[in-house]
């Protein structure tokens, strides 16, 4: 019975409705072939010029000319332009990715040499030359960043709640402007502020961990306010109304409905803020100081942190310099691992406590 329904003629290009252009298409194989040819041409030029940089640039330029050019001839002008922009966007993406990959690669290759148990179990007391570790710096970084988080997250979240839920008029506008200004504070200024503040009470030789936490929270608060503010604005007004309509007071609506709904976003924002300050060196150099000893007391005594440890190990490596430089790379790697861990933790939190959809 299919014969009845079968078309009497096989459709050809002339059957197309008038005005609908048909065109030839460049297949996947041809696309990749052209890309490969362009890159190979670039590599050849690079060999001739004796420089890999020339080769890379020439290869990308060749692809940028060859692929859209051929496509323009075969597929038409619009598709040619589409190809050209696809190549440009891809190259831009690769350029942005390149420094990151290079950074991860060099930190890994240089840092793994001393990424050993001793590095995480010993401090630098009475260590000359080989051996030693960054336990004191890891503890310092965790304590100081943790305290900075404890200080700035409540302030930041409450400030954001004020701006989104309550703030009207002049005061709210002023707070917004101040937060914007604070975002741009150079970190060294934050360190000097904390130092100036605490030297009023404890004299000019004051160095302690909590001072570092205060300096860091100065940098953290505006980041937390901004990201939490955006997240709270995303909470649909209908949810607030639904809650009010049940006879729930405003503050309970904020605590039980608005904050949980924005919870995943807030967690992500806080993590970004932590990652932003955990690598700060300058303020900690001023107010937390540097030491070779493990110090668990954030209220007293100099406290080493990973960025400062990295800086000092690299700038004053000792004689011979190799062990110090290796420790610097290992500390840098540790810092990166901590930040990576924080990011994963934020994603986990977002998944566990986020809005449920299914």
């Amino acid at each position: 019975m299919t014969a009845v329904n079968a078309p009497t003629e096989t459709p050809t290009e002339t059957d197309a409705a008038p005005g609908l252009e048909s065109h030839r298409h460049l297949g996947t194989g041809a696309t990749w072939g052209l890309t490969g040819a362009g890159l190979a041409g670039g590599a050849l030029l690079g060999l001739l010029a004796g420089s890999w940089a020339v080769g890379a640039v020439a290869g990308l330029l060749l692809v940028l000319v060859a692929l859209p050019g051929v496509s323009w001839r075969v597929e038409g002008a619009r598709r040619g332009k589409d190809r050209a922009f696809t190549v440009v966007v891809t190259v831009a993406f690769l350029l942005a990715l390149l420094p990151l990959l290079s950074l991860i690669y060099s930190t890994l290759t240089n840092g793994l040499a001393r990424f050993d148990p001793e590095f995480f179990t010993s401090d630098m007391r009475a260590v000359l030359g080989e051996g030693g570790g960054a336990l004191h710096a890891i503890v310092g970084t965790l304590l100081i960043t943790g305290s900075a988080t404890l200080i700035s997250v409540p302030i930041g979240i409450m400030c954001a709640i004020y701006l989104v839920e309550y703030g009207k008029g002049r005061l709210a506008r002023m707070v917004t402007i101040l937060v914007d200004v604070m975002t741009g504070i150079p970190s060294i200024v934050a360190g000097l502020f904390a130092f100036a503040l605490f030297s009023i009470f404890f004299g000019p030789s004051i160095r302690f961990g909590l001072g570092g936490a205060v300096a860091l929270s100065l940098l953290m608060v505006p980041v937390v306010v901004r990201s939490v503010e955006e997240m709270l604005k995303l909470v649909a007004n209908e949810l607030r109304e639904a809650s009010y309509a049940l006879g729930v007071p405003r503050w309970r609506t904020i605590v039980k409905v608005v904050l949980p709904t924005a919870g995943a976003g807030i967690a992500a924002g806080v993590t970004i803020a932590i990652a932003r300050v955990i690598g700060e060196t300058a303020p900690l150099l001023i107010i937390a100081g540097s030491t070779t000893n493990l110090d668990w007391n954030i209220f007293e005594g100099r406290m080493m942190t990973l960025p400062v440890f990295t800086y000092e190990s690299y700038m004053i490596p000792g004689v011979p310099p190799e062990p110090g430089v290796d420790r610097a790379w290992a500390a840098a790697l540790t810092l990166m691992v901590i930040v990576m861990g924080l990011n994963l933790a934020a994603r986990l939190i977002a998944r566990l406590f986020g809005t449920k959809s299914r």
């Binding site: 209908e238 809650s243 049940l246 006879g247 729930v248 309970r252 409905v257 709904t261 809005t355």
Partner: protein, 259 residues
């Protein structure tokens, strides 16, 4: 339980703008009152002023009197929050809380108000409310699943269950079916007919057939021109409004000859 509402000379302002002018009406207990009228005529604003929900918008205020079985809703000592506990509301778009399961959504009103009930009592409230909203059979096996995973019509019935879980005296519905398909709309309309036995219901709708189907009394709101305040043109038994209204404007509107 179900209480009556008396409105006398109620005018509603947004800042200096007069949105609704001098509305007076009486809403009988255990009845369904439909408010119809063109867009922007102030019927939603009027509805929201009945449980002081419009106060959420900055600059909104009212003149006149609204009383719930004789008690002044806008009295100087009356707390807006407690008014809303007595007069519940269902909105145009279903809005279950996205962080909560179906179970938690139903008891949200109880729990968010700080009430602590034993688990058995909560289970009772959930089952009674979901049965009341005609949703129990569809969700009883997945009470711990998120409310946002339900279909639009189920979500709206979940919102109705959430509203009746706090046992209000009056239930306000602001175009509860306008985001739903005909089958879900039918389910909600059947539900309104059931709920009438226990609650006073006021419903705003754009759908005149719906008003004719579900309501006992109908009020027709209209505005003369854009920027003019909305007024209650006529209010009468639904059968009268749809067969022989006393005002020409009402007849034009209900017969589709409007404008």
């Amino acid at each position: 339980m179900a209480k009556s509402i008396d409105v006398t000379d109620l005018s509603i302002y947004y800042g200096d703008f007069l949105a609704v002018e001098k509305v007076s009406m009486t809403i009988e207990p255990k009845s369904v009152t439909a408010l119809i009228g063109p867009s922007g005529c102030g019927k939603s604003t009027f509805l929201r002023s009945l449980n002081r929900m419009h106060e959420v918008i900055p600059g909104a205020r009212v003149e006149g009197k609204v009383s719930l079985s004789g008690q002044d809703v806008y009295g100087p000592t009356v707390d807006a929050v407690s008014v809303r506990r007595h007069i519940g509301m269902v909105f145009q778009r279903p809005n279950p809380f996205p962080t909560m399961s179906i179970y938690e959504n139903v008891i949200a009103g109880v729990r968010l108000n700080g009430g602590r009930l034993p688990k058995a009592r909560l289970d009772e409230v959930v089952e009674r409310s979901l049965r009341g909203a005609n949703l129990w059979n569809e969700v009883k096996d997945r009470l711990d699943r998120p409310g946002s995973g339900l279909s639009g019509g189920q979500q709206q019935r979940l919102c109705i269950a959430r509203a009746i879980a706090v046992e209000p005296d009056v239930l306000l519905m602001d175009e509860p079916c306008s985001a739903l398909d005909p089958i879900s709309t039918l389910a909600i309309e059947d539900l309104i007919a059931d709920l009438k036995a226990n609650y006073t219901i006021v419903i705003v709708t754009h759908n005149m057939q719906q008003a004719a189907r579900v309501s006992d009394r109908t009020g027709f709101f209209n505005i003369e021109a854009t920027g003019q305040p909305g007024r209650l043109v006529e209010m009468d038994d639904t059968t009268v409004i749809f067969s022989r209204p006393s005002q020409q404007a009402t007849e034009d509107y209900v017969s589709g000859r409007f404008g």
